[in-house]
Symmetry: C2
Subunit: 108 residues, 2 copies
DNA sequence: ACTTACGGTAAGTGATGACTAACGCAATGG
DNA sequence: CCATTGCGTTAGTCATCACTTACCGTAAGT
């Protein structure tokens, strides 16, 4: 439950989000990812470590290379967590609109 | 699009997540939120400022108090962003399973 | 008007984390 | 084998941020 902790923290960093978004285009090796980013390859490697710990990506060896891809697990946990607040959020919003109407046309 | 930036960063902090989760129980004033948390009231006020900037909460004056509640806007943006990766994530996972099967039973 | 309750803001501090450079290790190719 | 390629890890630095204390503005009560 509280394991969405690392997932939000992982996607909070701009660089890490770029890495994740590029993986949205398909599986990529570390070097490929680093090539299109303004940071060094070790930096990308460290970011991937965080994303993996958060369950957002998975890796698989491919010879001397290492291919990463998006893992639906972490993604699913985040969606589930957000959905817990979706209903109550809409209800709160509806109540707020109701309150605004009462202010404009107060009951006589 | 890239405005989900602040939303993920906002929910990355544990204390801020606690504030947000308590707002999931319904609208609360700043003092009420701070009462159940291990941090000072100014700290909660600063956290609410961040959550508000991320579009995750909205506030409304109530006399001398100030009531906060969850805002569906930021929540919706996050859901939309995550959904962009959901399909490709499942496809990548399916491809990985396929790859594992090929390793166990290599084609003759 | 004075007082009390409620909250936002400013300044300062300690801790976390993102980054680079340097190194070590495994896998491929000549 | 020896060289090369591709990644992960370590050590160290610099910036960011969460927190507290103190202060100021505002709204209601007497």
């Amino acid at each position: 439950m509280a394991r969405t902790q690392g997932a939000f923290a992982a996607l909070a960093d701009p660089t890490r989000r770029q890495v994740f978004e590029r993986l949205g285009e398909g599986p990529r090796a570390v070097g490929e990812l680093a090539a299109g980013l303004p940071v060094s390859r070790p930096a990308v490697s460290q970011h991937l470590k965080v994303l993996k710990a958060a369950g957002l990506v998975s890796d698989r060896p491919d010879g001397a290379r290492r291919v990463y891809q998006i893992d639906p697990q972490g993604l699913g946990q985040m969606r589930a967590w957000l959905d817990r607040f979706w209903d109550v959020a809409l209800a709160a919003f509806a109540a707020e609109v109701e309150r605004d109407n009462d202010e404009e046309e107060p009951p006589e």
